[in-house]
């Protein structure tokens, strides 16, 4: 767990539990992510990673416990908490009939930044690595990597303090994955707290300050990456998976 301080964590789960009938998807999760920290959540399919992210987003209500963003309970302050978060799923699905710039304009307006002009929005797309000529093209023609970049531009333009990512590098080529990681590190350096659910052990070690391993809805391990090698992390992960 991250050390307690007077500043509320960017993302915090306290005794978080989610059940679907008799199936326990999440079993009393406690998690705290500080500003500027990248926390990578590893685990097999169905371990509860996506459920955790959906609970942070308020898409599903918790069965017990609570989720807080910058100290505010998501259940009671749904819209307020969403002003501070950005979400990048495995596939950033945008409106295919709109251009990258138009999509960015729409989503930043939804985020309450409707005053941003095209030039400023273009700058964000540029910083996210999207080629300027692509910004004016319909998103229907974009590759997955390009859509992920628009997603990052959205987070930057929104000024999000927390970033929730659900297997964002899945399906990206190594170069695209590397570029994406660099962008996350840049955002982290700017103080953004990041929770990334992933299967990519290498990437977790590369960019994560801490890594958590989930199994059957429980956080079975949580460790800093500083003193771990890639092989150590892989071994620990597999040990948990083979019990």
């Amino acid at each position: 767990m991250a050390p307690r301080s007077s500043v509320p964590p960017v993302l915090e789960a306290i005794g978080l539990r989610k059940t679907y009938g008799d199936v326990v998807a999440l079993h009393g999760l406690d998690l705290s992510i500080a500003a500027g920290e990248i926390f990578c959540l590893l685990g097999a399919n169905g371990a509860g990673k996506t459920t955790t992210i959906q609970l942070f987003l308020g898409f599903i209500p918790p069965t017990a416990g609570c989720v807080r963003i910058l100290g505010q309970d998501v259940a009671t302050h749904a819209l307020q908490t969403k002003q501070h978060i950005a979400y990048i799923p495995e596939n950033v699905m945008l409106y295919p009939n709109l251009t990258g710039l138009e999509n960015l304009k729409f989503f930043t307006t939804l985020a309450g930044h409707g005053d941003l002009d095209r030039a400023t929005l273009g700058t964000y797309l540029d910083r996210a690595g999207l080629a300027p000529e692509a910004a004016g093209r319909r998103v229907g023609t974009y590759s997955k990597g390009m859509r992920q970049k628009v997603g990052i531009a959205m987070a930057m333009a929104k000024g999000a303090q927390a970033l929730l990512l659900d297997e964002p590098t899945s399906g990206l080529d190594p170069k695209g994955s590397n570029e994406f990681s660099r962008l996350l590190q840049t955002m982290s350096a700017a103080g953004v707290g990041i929770l990334m659910a992933t299967h990519d052990i290498f990437r977790s070690k590369e960019i994560g300050a801490r890594v958590g391993i989930m199994k059957h809805g429980q956080l079975v391990a949580c460790m800093g990456t500083e003193d771990l090698s890639h092989s150590d992390l892989e071994r620990i992960y597999l040990e948990h998976m083979h019990d």
């Binding site: 599903i60 978060i85 979400y87 950033v92 009939n97 989503f107 985020a111």
Partner: protein, 477 residues
């Protein structure tokens, strides 16, 4: 926030081919229906104008002949005597009672196919009413589908266009994956859904309103009064309420969290139930509980009566003077009086059938008025018929007034026959004239307003149902 969603959705809809095709289909349907309705109304007006012109000419000729007979310039024959009240009332001066067409007549022409909007008034036969429609059904297809008028397009096709525009209102966002991204922003699901529904509602509402206005503007004929303006408002108000109902249904079904295909099926099912099945069941219920009066019986009675009159007339004409008890003129007068007596007797015989006919029609209409609330489609159809002036209620009023007028017509001539008076030029000037007395606007407004409430209430219920679903939340991914 709401308008941000509205603007974004407007851009999305603009890029959707299916939306344009649906709107094009609607515009084509409205255009053809407006033309078809206008053609039917024009044909009616032409037929009425022709009949009235012939009537005017005939009346003028009769009066000229009467002048000539009275001046001794011409000899009146027994079959063309313009001063013979029995002859003039039964054939020579037969007049048309016409249900005037309202400026919005082309909106719904349906009932004019089945019920005559002009009736030839004579002293012969039961009530002097011709039951033949002036514009018979044209072919089996027409018989099956009814008139392709604006009312048909608005009642039946418009909901399908709404379904095309709304079946994936929310499900499409979820299936594309954009719903999760949207709801990760500080916008509520209710605002998002409302924004999208509002945008599409405004788009379709304005297109429908524009087309409906254009269709009326292109086909409107005759003087425009403040009453017609009120009818126009009732027409547009009911239409917009109908559009609102279908949008509310689409939102409520979308909020249930089914797939786009599931939503489309549910909405098509609802359309089938409300536009096809329920009206059919209502029709069956009306027929079963208030069996339609036998038109065949009435027509047979009319024919039998006419035959008897003709037989009597022939008998009288063949025998008058043959008994040798009076002068030919006296015998002819006696025959005429007997003829009137026969007609009056036949009328009495027909009265119960006619009364039953009228009572059944009124009962049918009353039941339809009550059952219309089972389907918004019936509510709109009835309302459009009412504002167009071709609804069942106005037609019933017309036939009731025709009956009254027929009585006045007979009284006018039979009183002169009984008093053994010949017709004068002054009598021609004093011939009864049929003028249709319109239903009062408040009465029309009350009936259409009740229908409007019958549309708004289920709409509010659907909105409430959708609201409950939105508060409960939907599956985002």
């Amino acid at each position: 926030m709401l308008w941000t969603v509205v603007r974004m959705d407007a851009r999305n809809v603009r890029a959707e081919v299916s939306a344009w095709l649906a709107l094009l289909l609607l515009a084509t349907g409205v255009t053809y229906a407006a033309w078809s309705g206008a053609a039917a109304v024009h044909a009616d007006r032409q037929a009425v104008a022709t009949a009235l012109t012939e009537q005017q000419t005939r009346m003028r000729d009769l009066q000229v002949r009467l002048h000539a007979v009275q001046a001794g310039q011409k000899q009146a024959t027994s079959t063309e005597d313009p001063s013979d009240p029995a002859l003039v009332g039964s054939t020579l001066a037969a007049v048309w009672a016409v249900l005037p067409q309202l400026p919005l007549a082309s909106v719904a022409v349906g009932q004019r196919d089945l019920a005559a909007a002009r009736v030839r008034i004579t002293t012969q036969g039961p009530s002097g009413r011709s039951l033949q429609s002036d514009r018979p059904m044209t072919g089996p297809t027409r018989l099956l589908t009814g008139a392709f008028d604006l009312a048909f397009v608005l009642v039946a096709l418009l909901p399908l266009v709404i379904i095309v525009l709304t079946y994936d209102l929310l499900a499409g966002e979820r299936e594309r994956g954009t719903l999760a991204l949207v709801l990760a922003h500080p916008v509520s699901l209710a605002t998002f859904v409302l924004g999208k529904a509002l945008q599409r509602g405004l788009l379709l509402g304005s297109v429908t309103l524009g087309l409906a206005l254009l269709a009326v503007a292109a086909t409107v004929d005759g003087p425009w009064t403040s009453d017609d303006a009120v009818r126009m408002l009732l027409y547009l108000g009911t239409l917009m309420a109908y559009v609102g109902f279908w949008f509310a249904a689409a939102v409520a079904i979308n909020v249930r969290g089914q797939t786009s295909a599931g939503n489309a099926l549910a909405l098509i099912g609802l359309w089938l139930a409300l536009v096809v099945i329920v009206p059919g069941i209502v029709q069956v219920a009306v027929q079963a509980t208030h069996p339609p009066p036998s038109r065949v019986e009435l027509v047979n009675l009319t024919r039998a009566a006419a035959s008897e009159i003709e037989a009597e007339l022939s008998d009288l004409q063949g025998n008058h003077g043959a008994d040798g008890k009076g002068t030919p003129a006296q015998n002819a007068q006696a025959a005429t009086e007997r003829l009137v007596a026969v007609q009056v007797a036949l009328e009495k015989r027909a009265a119960p059938v006619l009364q039953a006919f009228g009572t059944q029609l009124a009962a049918q209409q009353a039941l339809v008025n009550a059952l219309r609330f089972l389907s918004p489609a019936i509510v709109l159809q009835e309302a459009l018929g009412d504002v167009a002036g071709n609804g069942g209620h106005r037609l019933q009023q017309f036939h009731s007034q025709v009956d009254e007028f027929g009585q006045r017509w007979r009284n006018f001539f039979f009183s002169r026959v009984s008093a053994r008076q010949r017709l004068t030029v002054a009598d021609y000037a004093a011939l009864p004239q049929f003028v249709f007395r319109e239903e009062s606007l408040p009465a029309l407004g009350t009936r259409v307003g009740a229908g409007l409430m019958g549309l708004l209430l289920p709409t509010l219920l659907l909105i409430g149902w959708a609201g409950v679903g939105l508060r409960r939340g939907v599956r985002v991914m």
